[in-house]
């Protein structure tokens, strides 16, 4: 029966997203996958079979094998080469974006893309402990590695006399990590246009003007890559994150 609606099941395999055209979607079930009988060992598109609640046998597709079987890999690798950094696309696109404005110890005003921020924490400067040459803070039962943007970005570093500090906890880290900022100036929804002409440094996407003030757009991902790369998610992990 030809239907006017095409149903596509969106699936994720490795770090790519694929669509499978299906006739209908029956149900979602937690199942125990049984190994494929050896008689079917040549059917590599299946990873096993399972017995459903109604007693019927359902075949379990193996996405890892389905993709090479469908000869999709070539096209997909080309696509990979063409695809620039996702965050850059996002920031170059002149659409309304939610950004966080903040200051570190110097006078510069920074911006960071709000969708990449998981949460903010408030800490006291005294809570930060030096272990080796790295700084950590115990915050609400968790130990977080803290990094200071001034150490990695071409900005001023001043002596801080503040009684409280803020931590920006990004989304794409595998272990708890916070970025120390001295003052948050709130978040705004704004049309962000990144100017890459003046400031080019690792950890910075460029400058952007907000309310007639030049602000520095921080590339949170690159900043952490500079400061603590072992805290970053791998590409695979990152794909799971909806930015």
């Amino acid at each position: 029966l030809e239907s006017a609606v095409t149903k596509i099941l969106i699936v994720k395999a490795a770090n790519k997203v694929y669509g499978i055209i299906v006739d209908s979607i029956c149900d979602r079930e937690d199942v125990l996958v049984k190994p494929l009988p050896q008689y079917l060992r040549n059917c590599q598109v299946y990873s096993g079979a399972t017995i459903l609640g109604d007693g019927k046998v359902a075949m379990v597709l193996s996405l890892d094998n389905l993709v090479p079987t469908s000869a999709l890999s070539v096209a997909e690798e080309q696509l990979e080469a063409l695809r620039p950094n996702e965050e850059i696309i996002q920031t170059l696109r002149p659409t309304l974006q939610e950004v966080l404005l903040f200051k570190c110890s110097g006078p510069e005003i920074f911006t960071a893309s709000m969708p990449l921020v998981a949460r903010m924490e408030i800490i006291q400067p005294g809570q930060i402990q030096m272990i080796g040459n790295k700084e950590y803070v115990k915050c609400g039962g968790n130990v977080l590695r803290v990094i200071r943007p001034e150490e990695y970005l071409p900005v001023q570093r001043c002596l801080s006399e503040r009684s409280k500090l803020y931590l920006i906890v990004p989304k794409f880290v595998t272990k708890p990590l916070g970025i120390v900022v001295e003052k948050t100036l709130g978040t705004i929804h704004s049309e962000i246009k990144i100017d890459e002409e003046h400031l080019q440094a690792k950890g910075l996407l460029g400058t952007t003007v907000i309310n007639n003030t030049i602000t520095l757009m921080v590339d949170l991902h690159e900043l952490i890559e500079l400061a603590a790369p072992e805290y970053l998610m791998t590409i695979n992990d990152r794909e799971g994150l909806t930015v």
Binding site: K34, P37, Q38, Y39, L40, N42, C43, V45, Y46, A49, I51, G55, K56, V57, A58, M59
Partner: protein, 151 residues
């Protein structure tokens, strides 16, 4: 051979298997076809919580394909040591159990094609009909010459 043979019909032809290999007969098996598998495999069925592979016997024996089956049954076979997975064969309908003695066995007629002869161990002559006794070892066994080895 000597012993009991379970007879059954496949595409109107009377065939049989050694009854010691038969575990159970199921009627109208509700099996799941496996897309992309070889045509000899009909699909998978849940038989008492076990996933059983059902073989399309008509295809294995190269019998002409029937567009429409009035009835369908399956024979679940006992699993053997050399192939741990459970298997079954799809048949039209089961027949009688026949007590076979050595004097009932006839050599294979040369008119049968190799597709058939390689899986038939003998022809048993009854009063008014003949039964093709299948060699399940060659069909489902693990040996070099078995069908399983090729598919």
């Amino acid at each position: 051979m000597k012993g009991k043979v379970l007879s059954f019909y496949v595409c109107g032809t009377l065939c049989g298997v050694d009854i010691n290999r038969v575990k159970e007969i199921i009627r109208n098996p509700d099996y799941t076809p496996v897309m992309g598998s070889s045509p000899e495999i009909a699909g998978l069925i849940n038989h008492r919580g076990e996933v059983v592979t059902l073989f399309e016997l008509a295809q294995i024996l190269k019998f002409p394909r029937q567009e429409f089956r009035r009835s369908m049954s399956g024979i679940i076979l006992k699993s053997v040591a050399d192939s741990p997975d459970q298997a079954g064969i799809l048949i039209d309908k089961p027949g009688d159990v026949i007590e076979v003695t050595a004097d009932m066995c006839r050599p294979l007629p040369s008119t049968l094609g190799t597709a058939q002869t390689q899986f038939i161990s003998e022809v048993v002559e009854l009063e008014n009909k003949t039964v093709l006794v299948l060699d399940l070892g060659k069909i489902l066994g693990n040996g070099q010459h078995s069908l399983l080895y090729k598919i």
